[in-house]
């Protein structure tokens, strides 16, 4: 139906769109999501040939190339075969005409019927869009944002176009109007082909068959809404989802480090990407088919950082870890939850090599780990439960944080000194001479754990194994350490294996949860799924016994216990 081939738009030297290829089938609904400034609106406007800038490439509507059409021919198509509902933000409606008149305008402009017929059509669509008849003669400023949006949609639909482009149809609306507009659009979906441009991921999830993520004028990932939104494979798509507040995700919000800069060579996202390698800064990745979707990433999407297969360890007759297979992706947190003695810590020690496995293998970035050498320890680091024990009390903070660099023999003395200051800053500790010369027994529990984290960070690892990192801390310090770890994940793209007995905590920090019982993983899945619909009885009991704060009034409580 609509086919975009290498669409490029630039304003002077500013390249806004950088080669968009997109195919929309008849009757399909596609959403393009992305941050502001990604080029979403330009994409919509350029399809309508309404941009001032220079457009290159081809846009086919039913096989007819639009960009090479004459202005007259384009005018004929615009508003009739293809229309656009503009973003309501910048006075898309004309303030000096009433709304009915404005909805009639596309009909009259294309000479489709008489004025009376046009009025009838316009009233029909306004009604369908949910505007009450007494407001038909109102002026835009007399209407609420939701009502204005309805008028804009009615204007786009009134000519019964084959293709509708909706630019941020719900973004400026309150929750109730938003739901009404989404319902309206869902109904329209049956009869119209739609391209929805939005940063509202939930609207995209409700309204589209396919979703594409747009960054700096390029499509990063494109696939069915279910695939892209429930299991994003591009680091940018995942980061977008992580920063989007919603009622499903249980993990705390995380942003995307840095800000969009353009133009830059290579993959546009690489300065903010947490798994960028050399090639990402040199070459633009091509769209490839990965995991049932299209993906533009040199690394084939989010990498699999660590995987264990059949990892086992017995102590005498006790199977502490019984054929465990887990996997952790780049920049992801896997929480390992289970009671004491379930084998969580043994599993962590097996992975890091403090305990030798009886059987099973560990894979790092897909390669089987043969030997734990220094390189391995540059990639995988551990933060222990009790920082008081993990830090030698004979060393000062300076010596402690420098120790990994000394062991690995990284950098000159001066570089090591700078690195120490940098990682201390990252964990929000002072790098003053006085503090550097402090011994651990002068520090508080929270400071100790920060020093321990700084030590692990000094080697710039990709995976941090955190074994109950807050077990020895009081709740307020605990919260700060968790925030710190989340922030580090955002900044560095750290993957984490977060070990805890507290599923309530796991819920706030993890993307996925694996539940361990008697050395086996009994349940594993996305954190929201495991929390909302636990399958295994043990998971259910963990959730049942986790901390809750039911501090509602008695009547609320009764209602909660016995609804209806």
């Amino acid at each position: 139906m609509l086919k975009l081939v290498d669409l490029r738009v630039s304003y002077g030297s500013d390249q806004i769109l950088n080669g968009i290829d997109l195919d929309i089938e008849r009757g399909e609904s596609v959403s393009i999501i992305g941050e502001s400034g990604a080029g979403k609106t330009t994409l919509g406007l350029s399809l309508m040939r309404l941009v001032e800038g220079d457009i290159r490439g081809q846009v086919y509507l039913d096989g007819e190339e639009l960009l090479s059409l004459s202005d007259t021919a384009m005018r004929d198509i615009r508003g009739r075969r293809m229309s656009m509902a503009f973003q309501n933000a910048n006075n898309a409606l004309n303030p000096v005409h009433d709304v009915l008149g404005q909805v009639m305008e596309p009909l009259l402009a294309h000479g489709l019927g008489s004025k009376a017929e046009a009025r009838e059509q316009a009233e029909h669509f306004l009604k369908r869009c949910g505007l009450s008849p007494e407001k038909f003669r109102s002026y835009p400023h007399e209407l609420s944002g939701g009502e204005q949006q309805r008028v804009l949609i009615a204007m786009a639909l009134v000519n019964r176009p084959e293709m509708v482009i909706l630019d941020e149809p719900v973004s400026s609306l309150d929750a109730a109007s938003r739901v009404e507009i989404i319902e309206l659009l869902q109904e329209m979906r049956r009869s119209t082909t739609m391209l929805i441009i939005t940063h509202d991921i939930s609207a995209a999830a409700h309204l589209s068959d396919r979703v594409g993520t747009l960054y700096a004028g390029r499509i990063m990932e494109l696939g069915t809404a279910t695939r892209v939104l429930s299991n994003p494979r591009h680091p940018y798509s995942r980061a977008l989802l992580r920063s989007y507040p919603n009622m499903t995700t249980v993990k705390d919000l995380q942003g995307i480090k840095g800000r969009m800069i353009r133009p830059i060579p290579g993959c546009p996202f690489h300065p903010r990407c947490t798994q960028a390698i050399d090639i990402c800064g040199r070459e633009t990745p091509a769209m490839t088919n990965v995991d049932g979707r299209q993906l533009a990433c040199h690394r084939g999407g989010i990498i699999s950082l660590l995987e264990t297969r059949g990892l086992s360890k017995s102590f005498k007759t006790v199977k502490a870890v019984d054929s465990v297979g887990i996997h952790i992706e780049g920049g992801e947190t896997l929480a390992l939850v289970g009671q004491s003695g379930s084998g969580k810590t043994t599993l962590a020690r097996l992975i890091i090599g403090l305990v030798d496995a009886d059987g099973g293998d560990v894979y790092i970035e897909g390669d089987k780990l043969e030997k734990r050498n220094r390189d391995f320890y540059r990639q995988v680091q551990m933060v222990a439960q009790n920082p008081g024990e993990a830090l030698s009390h004979r060393m000062t903070v300076r010596e402690l944080v420098m120790e990994p660099l000394n062991i690995q023999d990284i950098g000159s003395k001066e570089e090591r000194r700078l690195k120490v200051a940098r990682v201390l800053e990252e964990v929000e500790l002072p790098a003053s001479a006085g503090f550097l010369d402090t011994y651990p027994h002068h520090l508080s529990g929270g400071e100790l754990q920060r020093v321990a984290i700084a030590r692990a960070l000094a080697l710039d690892p990709k995976l941090l194994i955190a074994d109950e990192p807050t077990a020895f801390l009081d709740p307020s310090i605990q919260a700060k350490i968790l925030k710190l770890l989340m922030g580090l994940q955002e900044q560095r793209g750290l993957s984490m294996l977060f070990i805890t007995h507290d599923i309530a905590m796991a819920r706030k920090v993890s993307d996925r949860i694996a539940v361990m019982l008697d050395g086996k993983i009994v349940e594993e899945g996305p954190a929201d799924r495991v929390i909302a619909a636990p399958q295994h009885p043990y998971t259910q009991s963990l959730i049942g016994t986790a901390s809750h704060l039911h501090l509602w009034s008695d009547s609320d409580r009764l209602h909660h216990l016995h609804p209806h």
């Binding site: 551990m382 024990e389 993990a390 030698s392 009390h393 402090t438």
Partner: protein, 285 residues
């Protein structure tokens, strides 16, 4: 804040006392030729002289000056003591730590050797060896060292076994540290309190053993020893003058051992910052 052994020791009364005393004895040993006044082995005057201006502590049965013998005896005593303590402590640290870290056959063999030596009385071996070898002073040091590391090695081994499981060692392993780094930076520092105790113990034991061996006639030829002085004194216990021969050496030996013990006691907190007392002006804000 920097831990200074010196400050740590000088902070405690017993440490100050021990250091002062040992420094005095060491100075005596070092400046023996200046302090002595007489050749300790030469007959200076008549035998069995009581203390006088010419001979501060009198003379012995062959007319040797007792004060001169005393200061030269300090040389022998401390030379043997420190040499044996250094060698034995090093041996016990290396062998004990290696046993714990390597384990297996090496551990079993080392520990059986230790067992064997522990059940055989050192004095008997020394007497037998001395009878056949007629040891020089350095031979004596080597022999004493080889017979002094075993107890320490066993203690070090058991400590090292527990230390290597400590979390800070595990953490260092997780940074990719090799065995040698772990021994040098984590195990030995954590062993230091017991090594210091072991060193002091060896020092005291060696000083005592040297005196004891000399007392039964095993001493480097041509050297002067407190033990030998006491032995000679006892040989003349039927004479009144023997007391002048016995007391100086006996008191010197006792004071040396007391000084060493006091130092050992005061060093322990320095080895473990957690035992340190907070001192004004040093507290970290």
């Amino acid at each position: 804040m920097h831990i200074s052994l010196k400050r740590e020791v000088s902070r405690s009364h017993s440490g100050r006392f021990g250091i002062g005393l040992l420094a005095l004895i060491t100075a005596m040993a070092l400046f023996a030729p200046l302090l002595a006044g007489y050749d300790p082995l030469a007959q200076s005057t008549a035998a069995f002289q009581p203390p006088s201006m010419g001979h501060l502590l009198g003379t012995n049965h062959v007319g040797q000056d007792i004060w001169s013998q005393l200061v030269y005896g300090a040389r022998t005593s401390l030379l043997v003591g420190f040499s044996v303590a250094v060698i034995a402590t090093t041996l016990s640290a290396i062998l004990g730590a290696a046993s714990a870290l390597i384990g297996g056959l090496f551990d079993r063999i080392t520990m059986r050797v230790v067992d064997a030596f522990i059940i055989i009385p050192v004095l008997i071996i020394m007497v037998l060896l001395a009878a056949y070898l007629r040891p020089s002073l350095w031979m004596l040091i080597v022999m004493l060292s080889l017979l002094s590391w075993q107890g320490g090695a066993r203690t070090v081994r058991s400590q090292a076994l527990s230390i290597k499981e400590r979390m800070h060692v595990s953490t260092a392993r997780c940074f990719g540290a090799g065995r040698w780094y772990l021994i040098r930076r984590h195990i030995i520092p954590d062993l230091s309190p017991i090594l210091v105790v072991g060193f002091i113990h060896s020092l005291r034991r060696a000083v005592f053993l040297e005196a004891g061996l000399a007392f039964i006639g095993i001493a480097g030829p041509g050297s002067v020893s407190w033990g030998m002085m006491m032995k000679k004194a006892l040989d003349f216990s039927y004479m009144n003058a023997w007391i002048w021969m016995l007391i100086p050496a006996g008191v010197a030996l006792s004071l040396t051992i007391v000084a060493i013990t006091f130092i050992g006691h005061s060093m322990e907190p320095a080895m473990d910052p957690r035992l340190r007392k907070e001192v004004e002006g040093e507290a970290i804000a």
